[in-house]
Amino acid sequence: MKSDSVLKNLVKKNWWISLIVLLALLIIFIPLPQSQNDAADRHFQVEASMFQFIPGRIQVNQGDRITLELISTDVVHGLSIDGYDFELIADPGQSQTATFIANKTGVFRFRCSIACGNMHPFMIGKLQVGPNWVLVRGIILGVLAVFAAFLSFRQSSHIQKSTVS
């Protein structure tokens, strides 16, 4: 009987822990309504030089038909996107164009697929399809963690005070 009341007391005192855990799970796993944008045709010109893509970051919506034109400005470069079956190889003076549909959401790296010198492995860019929910969830989770830390600090000092008095 006595141990039961102690447990109840503990739960009562630490109810906020379970609340925060619940909130954290909610933030991580809550399904978000997919934005239903009309698929648009989008054209991007990507210039490849040693050792960078310009622009190095492409942001599109899910379902967009993306036409990429790869222009090489010095040597033979390629462009392949991780997670998509897409590759372009362009010589200087012979720019190449291809189209694909961005049906997968998330952030994908695109990289040079043709060895182009010593810094070739670092020639990468970023394709972002749809809003970056992982980042948004991460930020909210971080705020929650700070809040939880603050709360636990207050709670412990409260307990200490009560034990001293």
């Binding site: 010095d74 040597v75 200087p92 003076g93 012979q94 043709i114 060895a115």
Partner: protein
């Protein structure tokens, strides 16, 4: 006991012999592999270009080449031959065998753009042997005495788009010299137009109709397959500077100043600005420039290069047919 010792001794000698033999055989085999093959490393011209720039050979003696790249994608081909171009990828070896049946000096060159100095990646193969040397007659622009360095603005240009189909309707009325290939080769479209305009038999034709006739003459001297060849050659070798649309705005010359015919900045060595006085190539879509040039003039420019623009010389690389194909493709920008 003695017998056993003898066996042991024989075995030791045998093993030592085998151990030495392995190295000798390996060395001999390696010798055979590398004996008649030349290993060439390709590097960007700024880092040394071809590691071998001159090869001596004899006629009907195959040359084995092992090619590799140390940095970017390069290619290997031999000018004025049918030898297929091979691509050289960094970290990979590619082998090719050359066979020459005529003595002479051949030029090998890089076929994939590897920077602004890509065209400097060239080397020579000296082929000696029996038989007449491969010699090239002096190019037409020298025989005709054309100065390829001067400006060649067209005296007249068509007001609207030309139609070779319309031009073909007047084919029967034309004087005989216009269908002569020599006339086509040594005259600019503007010159031919003026000559035809002066013909009394063609006085009923409008100015535009005479232009249609000139366009038809130019079409007669080319073929769809020639245009196609020219287009491929242009894309691979010229577009990086002259631009994919022929506007003279290719990615390699973006930072260079535009050609300015009024200032004649090319003649003044002190007015150099930026990249060693180099200027952008002319706009091929500008009829004023293109229709004032004869095919002989254009082929001269391709053969010799220069003209104060940093254009490479293609004489040792393109065959006459290839240059003619390129020239007929250049005109398609302006019509």
């Amino acid at each position: 006991m003695v017998k056993k010792e003898r066996i042991a001794r024989v075995l030791v000698v045998l093993f030592v012999f085998i151990a030495v033999l392995i190295f000798v055989v390996g060395w001999l085999k390696n010798q055979n592999l590398n004996a008649d093959s030349i290993q060439i490393h390709a590097r960007m011209p700024e880092n040394g270009g071809w590691s071998v720039t001159s090869i001596n050979a004899e006629t009907n003696q195959p040359i084995h080449l092992k090619l590799t790249s140390d940095d970017v994608v390069h290619g290997f081909a031999i000018g004025k031959t049918n030898h297929p171009a091979v691509d050289i990828f960094p970290g990979e070896f590619v082998e090719t065998t050359l066979l020459f049946d005529k003595p002479g000096t051949y030029t090998f060159y890089c076929t994939r753009w590897c920077g602004v100095n890509h065209w400097r990646m060239r080397g020579t193969i000296d082929v000696r042997g029996e038989g007449p040397l491969v010699t090239n007659p002096p190019p037409a622009y020298l025989q005709l005495g054309i100065d390829i360095d001067t400006e060649h603005e067209a005296e007249v240009i068509p007001a609207t788009d030309v139609s070779p189909q319309t031009g073909s309707l007047f084919a029967d009325d034309l004087p005989s010299y216009v269908l002569d290939q020599e006339t086509y080769f040594s005259n600019s479209p503007a010159k031919i137009w003026m000559r035809l305009r002066a013909e009394p038999t063609l006085s009923e034709l409008s100015d535009q109709e005479v232009w249609d006739v000139v366009a038809w003459i130019w079409q007669k001297n080319t073929s769809p397959s020639m245009i196609e060849t020219g287009q491929t050659l242009y894309a691979e070798n010229c577009a990086a500077c002259h631009g994919e649309t022929g506007k003279g705005d290719g990615i390699m010359v973006r930072d260079l100043p535009k050609h300015d015919s009024d200032e004649h900045s090319t003649n003044d060595p002190h007015s150099e600005s930026g990249m060693g006085g180099l200027i952008r190539p002319h706009d091929f879509t500008d009829a004023n420039h293109v229709l004032g040039a004869s095919p002989a003039l254009f082929s001269g420019k391709i053969i010799r290069g220069g003209m104060g623009t940093g254009m490479p010389y293609w004489g040792p690389i393109f065959t006459e047919e290839q240059i003619n194909a390129l020239v007929s493709y250049i005109y398609t920008f302006a019509w």
